[in-house]
Amino acid sequence: MNFALLFLIINIVFFGGIAYYFSVQRKQLQDEEEQAQKRHEYADISVERERKELEEELVEVREKGEFILDESEKLAQELIYSLDSALGSEGRKISDLYSKDRPIEEQLGFLREKIKHEYVDKIHSLLKRLEKFEMQKAVNVEKFASEQEERNDKNMQKVRMEELEKIHEKIENYKNAEIALFDKKVKVVIESAAMDVLGHALTNQEQEELIIKALTKAREENIL
């Protein structure tokens, strides 16, 4: 009877021990899994945060670019419309000149060139046409145009053009960096291909000669 009781107690202790051991192991595994999960979550959060920051930055740049585009367009439109009105013809819809579907970077570059060549040329051309009108009208229009020009230079236009220049410079730098990277990648690919071709182009005799050359060099450097 005593022996049976002892046996029972030993069994209980033994299996209890095993159960405890496994429960500890399980707990450890759970802890590890939780920690790994947390690490993953933290990494995901970091990546997501950086992605959002980048996106926000990009949105900001785009908004700024679009604002400059709109303002510049409005300015040029107003100027040409005023001149056209003074000359008796209808204003031209400037927004038709470029597509909204184009990327903002392209539009900025496009507008910069357009303002420089087309709008300025157009204004100059209109101003020249003024010479053909009566003196009084011409004086009035020229006065108006010069006022516009003066006001724009002093206030908004200069700032806008400077911002436009800055963004354009940023885009140029980005493009140059991309081109440099592309150039580097191309070089690596070409080199790799050249090496591959060279490796296959060498005859066995040439391979042997190059190996002997390698051994000669190794002997000179006391490697052998």
Partner: protein, 152 residues
């Protein structure tokens, strides 16, 4: 025995010969066939003549103990040979291996075993591993160095 020039030039050949010499010990114990037959059966053709010649005295006299003793001495000699590892682009012919082995022996005065490793991206020349040094003497390395120095 001129092991490099006539019988073994490479680590691979050395292993074949050493394996044979260990089997020779076992063969001597069994004493089933003639030693000559065993050599002809076990070794590559290029090694057979030299080995037969090397053990000629022992085989003629049928002195098994002397043969085993000599084979053990040869194993020791072969195992002590230094090894030069050459990583190359292509599989070389036996003649080329012999030629390279001969060049090393003539130019360094040492008996060595060559170990050839084939690697596709090794271009022109070889990566040499000897006496604990590893050096890249390939054309690829040359181009890389030139690029570092001159940027092209």
């Amino acid at each position: 025995m001129n092991t490099e020039k006539n019988v073994v030039s490479t680590l691979f050949e050395r292993d074949i010969l050493v394996n044979f010499l260990y089997q020779l010990d076992y063969f001597a114990f069994k004493k089933e066939n003639s030693i000559k037959d065993f050599i002809l059966k076990s070794l590559p053709v290029k090694m057979q003549e030299s080995i037969l010649q090397y053990f000629s005295q022992e085989t003629e006299n049928n002195n098994i103990d002397a043969l085993v003793l000599k084979s053990k001495s040869l194993i020791k000699e072969l195992s002590s040979l230094p090894v030069i590892t050459l990583t190359v682009n292509t599989q070389l012919t036996e003649e080329q291996i012999y030629s390279i082995s001969k060049w090393i022996q003539e130019n360094t005065g040492i008996k060595v075993l060559l170990h050839f490793v084939e690697m596709e991206n090794v271009v022109g020349g070889a990566i040499i591993e000897s006496r604990g040094y590893i050096r890249d003497y390939t054309v690829k390395k040359y181009f890389e160095k030139r690029k570092e120095n001159y940027g092209f």
